[in-house]
């Protein structure tokens, strides 16, 4: 099966967008994620944790996310995040995999600037998605095409 990504082809803003729909119990909703081959892990952003009301207090702590010069964002592990993706022929695939989620309660104790920056960061699909779901990633800027394909 092939799952199309949406390519932002603007110079200096190139991005691979991927639509996922959360089916985690009581936290249903849409997530516009970014495929990030620089991230080993899939991380549900502060914005999406907040919007989907994903409870984080009972979860195990995980390593913090660190970026260049922006401090670190506290994270927890959600071992059984459930979500849906849609293939380009209209079939729904149900996925359950562990993801990191931004720890909103810990974030709220941090400085206003840190909180504002954390909310700007989108959910990222990391390399763990390709590994655990047996997917390969194809990106073709010339033909404005990108997709995941089940191996």
């Amino acid at each position: 099966m092939i799952f199309n990504l949406k390519l932002i082809n603007t110079q200096d803003s190139e991005r691979l967008l991927f639509d996922i729909v959360s089916r985690y119990p009581r936290c249903f909703g849409n997530i516009l994620a970014i495929m990030d081959t620089g991230s080993p892990r899939t991380i549900i952003s502060a914005k999406d944790v907040f919007l989907l009301k994903i409870p984080t207090t009972h979860l195990e702590a995980s390593s913090c996310i660190k970026g260049f010069g922006r401090g670190s964002v506290p994270c927890k592990i959600l071992k059984n995040f459930k979500f849906l993706i849609k293939s380009n022929d209209g079939k729904i695939k149900y996925i359950e995999m562990p993801v990191s989620v931004v720890d909103i309660s810990a974030l709220q104790k941090m400085s206003q600037e840190m909180q504002e920056n954390a909310f700007k960061i989108p959910t990222v699909i990391g390399l763990d998605f390709l590994r655990t779901q047996n997917m390969k990633l194809a990106v073709d800027f010339k033909n404005d095409s990108s997709y995941f394909e089940e191996v």
Partner: protein, 81 residues
């Protein structure tokens, strides 16, 4: 929720995400450095802060789960995640 309902939800969501991808340059010119709230082919709200844009979405009685809220980087700003 039936598969048909899920597909319908996906279609609404995909219209919004396609709108963002296809119009990213225009969105960047108009809303660079801000959060936007998009539903299907419309920008419903924009603000400098996430909480502000969320307040605007709630004030127009739109279900926040049907809206895509996304930060649009300013022109010339390269963001690494």
């Amino acid at each position: 929720m039936t598969e048909q309902e899920i597909l319908k939800e996906f279609r609404i969501f995909e219209t919004g995400s396609s709108f963002i991808a296809k119009n990213f340059e225009i969105l960047q010119e108009k809303f660079g450095g801000k959060f936007v709230a998009v539903k299907e082919n419309n920008v419903l709200a924009s603000a400098n802060l996430f909480q502000e844009v969320l307040k605007q979405v709630n004030s127009i009685n739109v279900d926040q789960t049907e809206v895509i809220i996304q930060f649009i980087p300013a022109e010339g700003e390269i963001i690494l995640y």
